[in-house]
């Protein structure tokens, strides 16, 4: 007995059926998938949409049409399943019904006794690609983008036929690229041209005449003037080899933490010999299992944070209060300052002036920006005119008088309170009255830094993450006396820089660094007390983090890690920890714990020789438990201190600033799911059902 499912508030994508007569006489029943909104709200399939599609296919099948075709509204084919109803599903049977409904609707396209065509005119994701895969023929617009199967990234599998049909259509290797490899790599998406090369289309057409050309092509197929020939997928060794290779990649990346990828691999492996019914039945079961999984619930929670909350920062003042920024000043011309200069000129396209204490430093900073722009030019990311424009925007100066007409000045000098206070005072003496002053500090108190100024209300904190051009998070810090106009300006500038802004109170190390340093404190404690570094470093493998703790240390740099831990130790000596072994590492000038001398990361024997450890040896599980408990404690305290408005901002920050994965929901859904939150703080961070299956 199959349960039926309906989603409250589903925006139903209607399958609009229209009988088309070609000039050459063939009749085609054309189904347009359209949710009634423009392309900014793409069509997706919920239960209502699937029912509409099934009905349209049936009506088309019963008509006198020679063929059935499916296409989308302008710019959009379909972007997959409507996921809004998934979080409220509490029963395995209901999840199973979702898979079943999709198959029941889509498989008609592959089993009806008329030829079926997908005219993929625009964005096609997930179920959209699967609709196309069910059809007998596919045309693809060269303008169609993105094309992707993001299910595994979210915690699902393409289980409406994708894992069975795609490998049997385009071969296991190409199918796995779409189903597993791309989602595992920051959810990479492709465009129509690339998709066609993977075999997703029988023919591609330019966007301008896409539907006319597709219909005319269908007519030729129906008249037998075109015979569609596709390479037969290799069902031998190649299939197994592709599965094995991808399995290895997934294991190395997630250490079993993200079950969706493994499940998808199992399904693709089985699709080699499974019948259609078996393949689809296995997909139904996989979907039901995964819909009930904590990883999917965390994934959907993360997806909403990244899609919605990241775009509308909670606590940001009304953007109408923001002041226009037409020129930017940067104090410092070192590497960080130069990276900031590049980001500001590329995104804001306003003049940026860097200052430093001597001409060689200034020249080096400006030179860095110029060489980066030349690099973009060489890679044809920009043209010559744009390169000229951008280069002309950056300048250097030895005096802060260059800030006389700057609306926004950010300092990126050495992390020292006295130095920064002095710099801000010098800047304040030169800038116009309304200018906003920002500090790119990672751990110093912004309020203290502003305290000596005549107008402390215009100072904000602007904490970027390394590498500045890549990491999407920007912590915007409101100091004690920061006014709304300055804060609003900060958020507007941050958004214009392409960053996801999160508001942080002026508390030590703000959000991400405070949590990461606490996490590292616990790892170091374990090592220092006697746990082998390899064991401690593998403790978080089961979470599938982008890198292990000691690899992260190498990226950040031991000196900076030490400095931040010292700052936090000063603030919270009861919880934070300055590792003597980390100090030894820094004193020895080692850039990392690992060496890549052998080609593979290995603990540097010289580092191992430096370490002095105690006799308390923890297992990886014990180390992980200790670090998780430390983080849970820290998050509770951060919430109590009002570092962030809500716990969601912590998870959003960990996703955007530390790259912590969707399947653990940033961090707190994982802490809740493993019982750590309740054990340490007496309560969950998120109520049941928010990033987990409802009770």
């Amino acid at each position: 007995m199959t349960a039926t499912v309906s989603f409250a508030n589903e925006v139903v994508t209607k399958a609009l059926l229209r009988q088309i007569s070609l000039a050459t006489g063939e009749k085609i029943a054309l189904i347009t998938l359209d949710n009634g909104f423009d392309h900014t709200k793409p069509s997706s399939f919920g239960p209502g949409g699937l029912a509409s599609l099934a009905a349209a296919i049936d009506e088309a099948a019963a008509s006198d049409a020679d063929a059935i075709a499916v296409t989308g509204k302008p710019f959009v084919f379909v972007v997959g399943a409507d996921l809004t109803g998934i979080p409220s599903i509490t029963e395995w049977d209901a999840g199973y019904a979702i898979g079943k409904m999709g198959h029941d609707a889509f498989r008609r396209l592959g089993e009806v006794d008329k030829p079926t065509f997908a005219f993929v005119n625009g964005a096609a994701m997930g179920g959209g690609v699967e609709v196309a895969a069910h059809c007998r023929y596919r045309t693809l617009s060269l303008g169609a983008a993105p094309i992707a199967l993001p299910e595994c990234f979210l915690g699902l599998v393409p289980g409406w036929g994708g894992t069975f049909l795609l490998p049997n259509l385009i071969g296991a290797e190409n199918a796995l690229k779409l189903i597993v490899e791309n989602p595992a790599n920051q959810n990479r998406m492709i465009n129509g041209g690339v998709a066609a090369k993977l075999g997703l289309a029988d023919v591609v057409f330019a966007p301008a005449n896409f539907l006319e050309d597709s219909l005319a092509w269908a007519g030729k197929v129906l008249r037998g003037e075109i015979k569609v020939e596709r390479p037969e997928p290799d069902r031998g060794e190649a299939w197994d080899a592709a599965v094995a290779k991808t399995r290895k990649m997934v294991a190395a990346k997630f250490h079993g933490a993200a079950p969706s990828f493994v499940r998808a691999l199992d399904l693709v492996a089985a699709a080699k010999t499974a019948t259609r019914d078996e393949g689809f039945a296995a997909e139904d079961k996989a979907l039901a299992d995964l819909i009930m999984s904590k990883e999917l619930r965390a994934g959907l929670y993360s997806f909403n944070l990244a899609q919605r909350r990241a775009k509308r920062p909670v606590g940001a003042p009304d953007k109408s209060l923001a002041k226009p920024v037409t020129k930017v000043g940067i104090v410092g011309a070192g590497l960080m300052a130069s990276q900031l200069a590049l980001l500001f000129i590329r995104r804001l396209q306003v003049p940026v002036v860097m200052t430093d204490i001597d001409q060689p430093r200034v020249d080096k900073g400006v030179g860095y920006v110029h060489s980066e722009i030349d690099g973009l030019l060489a890679k044809k990311r920009i043209n010559n005119d744009k390169a000229n424009q951008l280069k002309a925007l950056v300048s250097g100066s030895l005096t802060k008088k260059a800030f006389a007409d700057a609306d926004f000045v950010i300092e990126a000098v050495f992390e020292d309170m006295k130095v920064k206070q002095q710099v801000l005072a010098e800047v304040e003496a030169e800038v116009p009255p309304g200018a906003v002053l920002a500090t790119n500090t990672s751990s110093l108190s912004v309020s203290e830094m502003a305290s000596g100024l005549q107008h402390p209300e215009r100072v904000i904190g602007f904490h970027f993450f390394n590498p500045v051009a890549v990491m999407p998070l920007l912590e915007v810090i409101k100091a004690e006396r920061t006014d709304d106009a300055s804060l609003a300006t900060g958020f507007t500038v941050g958004k214009a820089l392409g960053k996801s802004c999160v508001l942080s109170a002026d508390r030590p190390a703000f959000i991400v660094n405070r949590l990461l340093v606490r996490f590292m404190s616990e790892i170091w404690r374990s090592i220092d007390e006697g746990t082998p570094a390899e064991v401690a470093d593998s403790a978080f493998d089961p979470l599938g983090l982008p890198m292990s703790p000691l690899m992260l240390l190498g990226l950040v740099g031991p000196a900076i890690a030490l400095h931040t831990s010292e700052t936090l130790y000063e603030a919270f000596p009861d919880r934070f920890y300055v590792s003597p072994n980390l100090k030894r590492l820094v004193e020895a000038g080692k850039p990392a714990v690992y060496t890549f001398a052998s080609g593979k990361p290995q603990i540097d024997p010289e580092v191992a020789a430096l370490f002095q450890q105690g006799n308390t040896v923890l297992t990886a599980d014990e180390t992980r438990q200790r670090a998780l408990e430390g983080m849970a404690q820290e998050i509770r305290l951060m919430l109590d201190e009002g570092v962030v408005a809500e716990v969601m901002d912590i998870d959003l920050s960990m996703i955007m600033g530390a790259g912590w994965p969707f399947h653990i929901g940033g961090i707190t859904p994982y802490l809740d799911n493993t019982g750590v939150s309740e054990k340490v703080t007496g309560a969950r961070f998120l109520p049941r059902g928010v990033a987990s299956v409802p009770a």
Binding site: L16, R18, A23, L30, A208, E212
Partner: protein
């Protein structure tokens, strides 16, 4: 010290030929029309792309101009539509373009203007066409007529309403009765239906995917306005919206329509060089003004002018493609030149009363049909396309049949 400029090359006129022309199906303007949710510029873009596809031997970079007419040049017909259409059609950005307006004779003027440039050696190959989406741009929308028109009695107020000018023409020529115009309208429908049935219309139509947010995508492959089987009784029952107990009805006039047309023109020597077909050869043209109150009379003086300038007489013309804005203006033309209402040389495939008249696009529609008629009538040497133009004008283009077999002079 003096510099000597290189000797100026002597100017020679070149023959201008009509290489190919296509159009969209014509639709009824308004919310229920087939193109209600289709952009006007997309209509022309698909015409231009089809012209290129039909003539692959024409390297796109050889096109020297893309002249597109539209009466209302705002919204989806704005932004210098000739240039934007060139870019959006995928022509190289080295191909320039412009927009022009001469009301109903927009596309015709695009042809005569760029054709003149070809003749003078300034262009080798051009695209000329027109578009009017009267659903998106209702006639007269957004106009702000100068009050002096009225205060100084420059024109009668009826001059700006095309239907009223048609009634005025009836007043001037009382012998053109409503029976004659209705009969002419019914004949137009019949001739079109025959031409359609015999496959003379569809080959020149570019299929257009039509968006319908409520119905889904459709495909327009045929003209929407024709009313096959229209009888005199049907026509007698229609209202006369422009004047109580008047003579002009929806049945003896063209409707309000959406559509686009385009053609390739070339210097004959360039067409030969590139292997492009020669479907018509431009002989000459004329435009003329008349009292705006009787704008429908315009084609009479424009044709007289064109004949005079080309040294031809009306008897030399073997085929006529006359735009049927109103039956009364066609009949006024025929009466003037002593041609019978049902002369088989006139609009043999039917005219705008059946097909529709998306203002600025119609000029090239006439040429597409004349070119095909030329092919069927090698005994005819000359033909003309003519149309009346709002605010009191007429336009006439005389063409020579490259298939003429020299046996007869007509």
């Amino acid at each position: 010290m003096s510099t000597t400029a290189p000797p100026r090359t002597a100017r020679t006129l070149r023959d201008v030929v009509f290489v190919d022309g296509v159009r969209t199906p014509f639709g009824k303007a308004g919310k229920k029309g087939i193109f209600a949710e289709t952009r006007a510029d997309d209509l022309v873009i698909k015409v231009v792309r089809d012209l290129l596809r039909r003539n692959p031997q024409l390297p796109p970079e050889r096109i020297d101009e893309c002249a597109i007419a539209a009466t209302t040049q705002t919204g989806d017909q704005g932004l210098t539509i000739g240039r934007t259409v060139a870019l959006l059609s995928g022509l190289p950005n080295t191909v320039p373009g412009f927009a022009l307006d001469r009301m109903c004779a927009g596309a015709m003027t695009a042809v005569t203007t760029t054709g003149s440039g070809i003749g003078a050696g300034m262009y080798d190959v051009v695209i000329a066409g027109g578009v009017e989406h009267m659903g998106h741009h209702p006639m007269g929308a957004g106009v702000d007529p100068n009050p002096r028109f009225v205060s100084e009695k420059v024109v009668d107020t009826s001059a700006l309403n095309m239907g009223m000018t048609a009634e005025n023409l009836h007043d001037r020529y009382p012998e053109i009765t409503k029976e004659r115009t209705d009969a002419y309208g019914a004949a137009s429908q019949r001739k079109y239906a025959e031409a359609l049935a015999s496959g003379r219309i569809s080959p020149w139509l570019v299929p257009i995917a039509t968006r319908g947010s409520e119905q889904g995508w459709g495909l327009a492959v045929a003209d929407e306005p024709p009313r096959p089987g229209t009888t005199m009784d049907d026509l007698a029952a229609l209202k006369t919206p422009f004047r109580a107990h008047g003579r002009v009805t929806a049945g003896n006039a063209a409707g309000l329509n959406d559509g686009a047309t385009g053609c390739i023109l070339a210097a004959e020597e360039v067409a030969t060089e590139l292997g492009l077909p020669v479907r018509m050869r431009l002989v000459g043209f004329g435009f003329a003004g008349v009292e705006p109150e009787v704008m429908g009379y315009g084609p009479v003086p424009s044709t007289e002018k064109a004949l005079e300038r080309t040294g031809l007489s009306i008897d030399d013309i073997g085929l006529f493609e006359l735009n049927e804005a109103f039956a009364v203006q066609v009949l006024a033309f025929l009466d003037h030149f002593g041609i019978k209402d049902d002369d088989p040389r006139v609009n043999p495939y039917g005219g705008a009363i059946a097909i529709g008249h998306p203002l600025a696009s119609s000029g090239v529609r006439l040429m597409i049909q004349l070119a095909q008629e030329f092919e069927e009538h090698p005994e005819v040497r000359y033909g003309l396309t003519a149309m009346c133009i709002g605010i009191g004008m007429g336009g006439t283009v005389i063409w020579e049949n490259p298939h003429w077999n020299g046996e007869q002079t007509k």
